[in-house]
C-alpha cells in the first residue's frame, strides 16, 4: 500500500483472527492491530484528528506550542505529528511511566514536564490545566474532553472493523480517555443491533489512587456511560498473564494494556460459549510490547511482574 506521507498512513490496520485463543469455531476472537500505526499505537488516530481539527478551527498555526497531559502514547503520537507539522510540544506526564516512553518523546523533540506519581494521570491533568492558564498562547488539545478524539474512532476505527467483520457481536477496548470506546462504540451501535460494547479498565496499584479526597476523582468529559454494556476492572496480574498468553498462543507481542483487554474479551467469549451463542468478538491491540520491556512484565514469574508493576501506570 502506498501513501504520500507518514501522516497519511495512519489507520487501515489489519484485523487478525485468533484461532488458538478462540474457544470454538462458533465463538471467534479478532485482534485489531493498532500497533501497526506510524508510532506504534492506536493514539496516532486521535492525535492526528485532534491536530487537524485545531488547524481547521484556526487554533493551531505554524510555530504554535501544543500542551497535553498524557501517560505516554498520545504524547508520542502528538510528538511525531508536531515534528512533521512544525509545532513545539510540551507533555505533562506522570513520573511513574516507563523509560521507553520518555526516550521516544525526547527523540521526537518533545519537552516533558513530570507530574507526581501519586494520583497518576489525575495529577497530570491538574498540572496541565495550571500550565495552560500560565501560558494562554499554548494550545491544549485535551484528549479527555476533545470530541475529535472520539470522532477519529467514529470515522475510522469503527468503519474499518465493521467492513472487515460484518458479523461482529462484541467490541472490547481499553478505557482511558474513553475516546476509542465512545467513538467506535457509537458507530457500531448505529450499525449492529444488540452489539455488546465492553470496556476493560486497568486497575493500578494503590499509589495511583492516592487522592486526598474521594470527591477529587476524575471522569473524562468524553465519557458517556450509555455507550457501554459492560465495564471490567482488570488487575495487573491478569493483564500480564493474558499478554503472555497472547504471545504464546497467537504470536502477538502486545503491550500490557492489551492483556487487560484480552482478559475481558476472553470473559465475553467464555460466556457466549457457555450459553451456546455464536460470537465474533473484536478487540483492540493498543500497542506492541516494546515500550514496556523495561518494566519486567515479560520475564520471570507472574508474582515478580505483579510486584514490578505495582505503582506503575502500565496502561
Amino acid at each position: 500500500m502506498r501513501f504520500e506521507s507518514l501522516l497519511d498512513s495512519v489507520g487501515h490496520t489489519p484485523l487478525i483472527g485468533l484461532p488458538r485463543l478462540s474457544p470454538s469455531a462458533d465463538v471467534r476472537l479478532w485482534a485489531k492491530m493498532e500497533d501497526r500505526n506510524p508510532t506504534g499505537s492506536i493514539k496516532d488516530r486521535a492525535a492526528l484528528r485532534m491536530i487537524e481539527q485545531a488547524e481547521a478551527d484556526g487554533l493551531l498555526r505554524p510555530g504554535c506550542t501544543i500542551l497535553e497531559p498524557t501517560s505516554g502514547n498520545t504524547g508520542i503520537s502528538l510528538a511525531m505529528a508536531a515534528r512533521l507539522k512544525g509545532y513545539r510540544l510540551v507533555v505533562v506526564m506522570p513520573e511513574n511511566t516507563s523509560v521507553e516512553r520518555r526516550q521516544l518523546l525526547h527523540m521526537y523533540g518533545a519537552s516533558i514536564h513530570f507530574s507526581p506519581a501519586a494520583g497518576g494521570s489525575n495529577e497530570a491533568v491538574r498540572v496541565a490545566k495550571v500550565m495552560a492558564e500560565e501560558h494562554p498562547d499554548w494550545v491544549m488539545l485535551y484528549q479527555y474532553g476533545n470530541p475529535a478524539n472520539s470522532l477519529a474512532h467514529y470515522e475510522t476505527t469503527g468503519p474499518e472493523i465493521l467492513a472487515d467483520l460484518p458479523t461482529i457481536t462484541h467490541f472490547v477496548a481499553g478505557l482511558g480517555t474513553t475516546g476509542t470506546l465512545m467513538g467506535t462504540g457509537r458507530f457500531l451501535r448505529e450499525h449492529v443491533p444488540g452489539i455488546e460494547i465492553i470496556a476493560a479498565e486497568p486497575r493500578y496499584g494503590e499509589v495511583v489512587y492516592g487522592l486526598r479526597n474521594i470527591d477529587e476523582g476524575f471522569i473524562p468529559e468524553l465519557y458517556d456511560e450509555s455507550v457501554l454494556t459492560t465495564r471490567y476492572s482488570v488487575a495487573a496480574r491478569d493483564a500480564v498473564r493474558r499478554t503472555r498468553e497472547l504471545l504464546d498462543l497467537e504470536g502477538i507481542f502486545a503491550g500490557i494494556s492489551t492483556g487487560g483487554i484480552v482478559h475481558a474479551a476472553l470473559g465475553a467469549a467464555a460466556k457466549a460459549h457457555k450459553e451456546g451463542r455464536k460470537a465474533d468478538i473484536a478487540f483492540i491491540v493498543c500497542d506492541g510490547g516494546w515500550k514496556y520491556l523495561s518494566t519486567g512484565a515479560y520475564e520471570g514469574t507472574l508474582d515478580d511482574a505483579e510486584d514490578a508493576l505495582d505503582g506503575e501506570l502500565w496502561a
Binding site: 501517560s71 497530570a124 492516592g210 476523582g217 454494556t229 476492572s233
Partner: protein, 90 residues
C-alpha cells in the same frame, strides 16, 4: 453471607486501616448498610441520595455494578466487592 469488601486507601480511616473487611447482605446496598454498623461514616462516602457517588466506582467480582443493578445488585457468599475512586487513564 460473607462478602469480601476491598476498601481504597482514602477510605481506610473509617476501617482502622483495614484493606479488606467483611460485610453481609443479599444486595450491595445491604452490604454497605451492614458496613456502616461497624465503620460509622463510610456509607455516605460511597453512596448519596442518587445512588453511588459520582467519583466512586464499585465492582462486583471486577464488573462495574453501574452496568448490573447499581446498589441493588444481588451479591452472594464468596463474592468480592471492590471500591475505588474514579481516576484518569490515557
Amino acid at each position: 453471607m460473607a462478602i469480601e469488601v476491598r476498601i481504597p486507601t482514602i477510605l481506610r480511616n473509617y476501617t482502622d486501616g483495614a484493606k479488606i473487611v467483611e460485610g453481609s447482605g443479599a444486595t450491595l446496598a445491604e452490604v454497605l448498610a451492614d458496613l456502616e454498623t461497624r465503620y460509622t461514616g463510610i456509607h455516605e462516602r460511597i453512596v448519596d441520595e442518587a445512588g453511588l457517588r459520582r467519583f466512586v466506582n464499585v465492582y462486583l467480582n471486577d464488573e462495574d455494578v453501574r452496568f448490573l443493578d447499581g446498589i441493588n445488585t444481588a451479591v452472594s457468599d464468596g463474592d468480592v466487592v471492590t471500591v475505588l475512586p474514579a481516576v484518569a487513564g490515557g
